[in-house]
Symmetry: C2
Subunit: 581 residues, 2 copies
């Protein structure tokens, strides 16, 4: 499979033109592309029976301009209020602008946009300039019962801010609400506005001596794959996790305090790192997904930026069972945690062998000789973060554990470096695949170690029951008591219905297997119909009680988010009565 291709497919190779439907679903920077390499292309051809000829005839590229054809139905009086509050230049009712702030990076979004299906658009996009303007808007919206959606970075994969209730305002936090409010080097905390984009925050922290007049460089340590199109606010309200979470923790472990504007007033949490004064209100608000109020500012703990201490490692295990057992032993060893820590199941490992050019390399020859078999062997990779000797000790201990399980050390093969190189750019691949009718999507869940084998087996069995469907799985966020399981499925599909059948079936399989329905993507409107079944009615009741308290008029991200006010279609686990037929 790994032989060099003797042709180059006709990948779309230009900057995506502005104003087009394609630009609405194009990942992150419009100018950037990343094509499948020859190994991956050959694999797709083999698996899906795609020919060289077909790879020269892409399907719909959706390069049409989004015309200004859907008039905003916002009340002119509301529009006047918004223009007076935020300045006319910060209020837009254009179809393109509204579509760009109503969709995210979910597969259903991309499928609809490729088909030029525009539904559930907000009526007006407003870019508030301050916390105070948001207070005024929420107060006005509450008085007039206007739905309010919030756009952060644009990478929701759960239809997080899709304006399913008509007549809404969408607040674009990215434009102005992106400033540093405070930096406290004694406490190692930074306070920023919620629309601060991920890369901007990291740039500021990593250059703290100049940007913040600090004594040294810092990092938040939060690097989700969506990094390039994500905001601080989005991370928090969805309980996101970065790829380095095994050392740095999920976002809920990084947040020190928060400030929300809710319909019943300002809600601010306390800055002390621990307290015994009732429930932990930070953990009450995080996960609210915009349904309780609008996060305007957050204070994070920051860590020392010490990339020079990274120790990279990678190992190959003979089978999935050993890989899981070794990973668990690492997490329970009490010598500190690695930072990035990814363990791929056999099918993902086989695909990575091609993607990272290990197949047919010297390392591959050795692996074969030592009895590491295709569709059995499993790759572990990662690196450390923290103080130098701390990092070195973790590396030593991981080596010892992996050897005990008969793993083959691949660290010399630069696997981790290759993974690292692609970590934020891989999402670009999706456009190319979709241009040829191949869908790639992901779903993830949380499990205990003892649940893991069964959840993996059952979800995988469901996906593989569909002909010609790739199901790659990895563990990417680990804890002493469990981990996440991240499923990537790749299939050739023609209709939205086909895609939804697969997605809904996987959600069903995850729920039935007893896993937590989301580890870090959040719930949004997509996963909402499965939430109550998973967490139980008593917990759902508490979400409803909090919602009723903070937002009695149901104006905050309404229309099915977190399963709060689902339409009949949504409750029946259908996406849209109209479009699903």
């Amino acid at each position: 499979m790994s032989k060099k291709l003797d042709f180059t497919p006709q990948w779309f190779n230009q900057p995506t033109p502005k104003g087009t439907y394609r630009s609405l679903f194009k990942w992150a920077d419009l100018a950037e592309v990343k094509h499948p390499n020859s190994g991956l292309t050959q694999l797709l051809m083999d698996r899906f029976g795609i020919t060289r000829e077909q790879l020269n005839q892409p399907g719909a590229l959706a390069l049409d301009i989004v015309e200004d054809t859907i008039p905003s139905r916002i009340d002119p009086a509301h529009l006047d209020f918004l223009r007076q509050t935020c300045g006319a230049e910060n209020v837009s009712t254009g179809t393109y602008e509204r579509a760009s702030k109503s969709y995210g990076a979910g597969m259903l979004d991309a499928l609809r946009l490729r088909r030029k299906l525009l539904e559930n658009l907000t009526e007006v996009v407003v870019s508030p300039r301050s916390h105070e303007e948001i207070v005024d808007i929420v107060s006005y919206a509450n008085q007039h019962h206007i739905p309010v959606y919030v756009f952060g970075g644009g990478s929701t994969v759960t239809r997080g801010y899709e304006a399913t209730i008509s007549g809404s305002i969408c607040l674009d936090m990215r434009k102005h609400m992106n400033r540093v409010v405070d930096f406290n080097e004694i406490d190692q905390t930074i306070t920023v506005e919620a629309g601060m984009q991920g890369p901007d925050l990291e740039h500021i922290l990593q250059n703290a001596p100049t940007s913040l007049k600090a004594k040294r460089a810092y990092t938040l340590g939060h690097f989700p794959q969506s990094f390039m199109a994500s905001s601080v606010g989005g991370w928090i309200v969805t309980r996101g996790a970065g790829q380095n979470s095994t050392y740095y923790g999920k976002i809920e472990n990084m947040v020190i305090s928060q400030e929300y504007v809710t319909p019943v007033g300002i809600f601010k949490t306390c800055p002390q790192p621990a307290a015994a004064t009732g429930p932990d209100f930070d953990q009450v608000m995080m996960g609210g997904e915009g349904t309780f109020g609008i996060l305007t500012r957050a204070t994070f703990r920051v860590c020392h930026w010490m990339p020079e201490n990274h120790v990279k490692f990678s190992y190959m295990f003979k089978n999935w069972q050993d890989a899981q057992a070794a990973s668990r032993e690492v997490m329970q060893g009490e010598f500190g945690f690695p930072s990035v820590f990814r363990i791929s199941d056999p099918e993902e490992t086989d695909i990575m062998m091609h993607q990272y050019h290990i197949a047919d390399s010297f390392a591959d020859t050795l692996l074969k000789r030592f009895g590491f078999r295709p569709m059995q062997k499993c790759l572990m990779l990662g690196f450390t973060d923290g103080e130098k000797a701390f990092c070195r000790n973790i590396d030593r201990k991981i080596r010892k554990i992996c050897r005990k399980y008969g793993a083959f050390e691949l660290s010399f093969a630069n696997v981790t470096r290759q993974w690292e190189k692609g970590r934020f750019t891989d999402p670009h691949l999706r456009e190319d695949l979709m241009d040829y009718g191949i869908l790639i999507d992901t779903l993830e869940c949380g499990v205990t170690w003892s649940q893991m084998p069964e959840v993996h087996e059952k979800v995988r069995a469901y996906v593989k029951s569909r002909p010609n469907t790739i199901c790659m799985t990895h563990i990417s966020h680990c804890y002493p008591q469990g981990a996440n399981l991240y499923f990537i499925f790749i299939a050739k599909m023609d209709t939205i219905r086909e895609f939804l059948d697969l997605q809904y079936g996987i959600l069903e399989a995850i729920t039935k297997a007893g896993a937590s329905i989301s580890h870090h993507h959040g719930v949004g409107k997509q996963t909402a119909p499965w939430l109550e079944e998973q967490i139980g009615k008593p917990q759902m009741d508490v979400i409803r009680v909090l919602k009723q308290h903070f937002d009695p008029n149901n104006i905050m991200n309404p229309g099915g988010t977190l399963g709060l006010d689902m339409s009949a279609a949504q409750a029946e686990r259908r996406w849209s009565k109209d479009l699903e037929g």
Copy 2:
């Protein structure tokens, strides 16, 4: 001050007789005593002007038997129900039994009991035998609007379960609800009933190969000073912290899932170690202090029991500023955290010099020669937990940081070992001191590093404004962003009023300085009047909303806990209208 005493005070030296008032406030085991050593005795004589003669004439020892003089006012029909549900042998209405389950280890409790003031007794003590019996009792109590209090281990210092509303039932969880429900060695979790006592749980875990048929020994790592008289349920509902929390975390970091019986039904949280499915319900329920429902079972993560890896350390700093800066640097160094990590302020250090016999020792001579001055120098002590090389690296890094700040290494002087020896027995000292009219009490709070100097200074200034009052302060639970401050005050006092004036004044000073009003003691009824001022009305409103949801008839730990339904006297920050006069 450190010269040997040439006499032995007439400390009460017998086992405390059962059934007496003294037995109600005696710390933990009735047979055990621990007297102030000569250094501490001499210091108390010097500070409070107590003579040798006075030390031979103790005050009221409260050795009277608690007569069965306060009839239970429980409705006989309720009593019948309880006897039928739990068995007659598990239902008691005796005055002594009721008093023993209504008071804890707070100073106000001890002061009242020494004066034979019995107020706020529950009407009946019931010892349920199962989760199901608790479900039945809560359902019955809710139907009949009967207040329900819950007794765990008996060490509340905040009047946590004092039956301030009359006509109540108290559930004694200690008698039967103390079993292991499940142990999962793959996930490293243990599920126990909420009445399991701290020492019992640790005994089971540390002997896991025999008690649980496990492959190795484990620990929870939760060792509060109240260890000997504390329960799993008490730890959780108050958000407690053990003395090893800098490595192991507070109890809220150890809990994986919980099950509560509330008036509106069973509330169970999910076992996955992380999720993105709305608010974190474990963190909503913890801190409820029994006002939302009754915790019946909890699942904890457990760690490897490896006491052989402890590395003990102790250092003396020239001043409080350096000690704080070095501690902060340790916590922000990203090489892992020490387990026990205590830093004493100058006044506490001076007293520890006597208590641990460092004063006038060889070490003291060296310290004096190197310019470490009384009422300036500060002691840091601690030890590590975790894997061996991980521990050694932490010890090395701490040494490096302490040297940078000019600290003197005292590790040779066995200071940490002496501290460790007394860590669970020091509370016994209180009885001896009180026998001679000397009160010793504590209050604690949470601060950020940048708040710490001001909070310390202001609270201390308030305490020292009272003549002849010792104010010892230490940091005992550290985080990268802050720590707790633990204040111990010792004073000669004659009346309850004097004590309350000091206690209330300190709470006032903590609140004004902007610290969190409790780091790990919880709020109870004692600290409740200051809660809303500290966390703010919007947060207090959420506590009220949760209360209204879970307990619409206000039967769960009612009467001022968490500031929910305070009496006029309590709201005015008085303990009792009747007794305060």
